[in-house]
């Protein structure tokens, strides 16, 4: 995988804006929260945002070494990733052991992820109905929720129909 920016469900999508927007939001949020978005953390966040395809920790590590010439070891990356997750700036996709940028870190959310088997792109949703259905089930079991993760694997509209008949979903992930 060397693609720079296969957009959310691919195609026409100004990913540079996507990234700079994410970095700006991150910076503002961290300042407001009184936590430090150090250069390293910011750089790792940028690398995660390189595309909408989840990135592995060791791929980030490679880029830090190769592109930045930085001396780095696994803990360097994992610590940065841990910070970014605490701040909800990124999410971990459990079924891929990889990380993806969060489209709206300011809002607390229990998100769902649609993961395309073909292009690898992850589309983040924040659907109340799904979360509510899960909560209702948990309640019936007397179970109190800390964290819910919903990961759906399949084929995205663009990959299923490259011609483009599926028109209604482009950009929804970045809205």
């Amino acid at each position: 995988m060397t693609e720079p920016a296969p957009g959310p469900t691919a195609g026409q999508h100004d990913h540079k804006a996507c990234v700079s927007n994410a970095l700006a939001m991150a910076s503002a949020l961290c300042q407001r929260r009184g936590v430090r978005l150090t250069p390293l953390r910011q750089r790792v966040l940028e690398l995660v945002w390189r595309s909408h395809v989840p990135v592995g920790a060791y791929e980030i590590l490679d880029r830090l070494r190769v592109e930045d010439g930085r001396s780095a070891a696994p803990p360097t990356v994992y610590r940065a990733l841990e910070f970014l997750m605490e701040q909800k700036l990124i999410h971990r996709i459990e079924s891929l052991n990889a990380f993806v940028g969060c489209i709206d870190p300011s809002r607390p959310h229990a998100a769902q992820y649609l993961i395309c088997r073909q292009c690898g792109t992850v589309t983040e949703l924040d659907d109340g109905a799904v979360a509510a259905a899960i909560q209702e089930q948990a309640r019936r079991q007397g179970f109190s929720i800390d964290r819910q993760s919903v990961e759906v694997h399949g084929t995205c509209g663009h990959c299923a129909d490259p011609a483009g008949a599926a028109t209604n979903h482009a950009e929804t992930a970045t809205a």
Copy 2:
């Protein structure tokens, strides 16, 4: 972790019956499907069913070596696990890198898992409302689903309230 059988949300629960039932169902299903539940595969299934706490591949490996005196290497275990997953006899809990027995392998299902942080027990649900809500969201995105995994971390009724006021959920997982 050495506990033999912390039941589904713990306590009074005949786990031996749970296991023998699972093994019997597995045997019948495999026969019907014309696939071979070999002694190794059956043994691995039994080890997964040792409790309702998900078991890691390397823990299974240890038990095969120590308890059975069998010469075994990782591929031995992973191949058996892969077979069992294909037959839906077990599930993989992505967020734990571990495996748990399926409570009803005969039915095709998109299950949800409630994972207790304290006792480790996983309760499997099969709620149509959750699956439907996810499908509806996917449809709107033009996304076609292969597989959905819902993993909810939190505290189960027994751990939250050991006194036992939460009474309605015991055994629901095995029903």
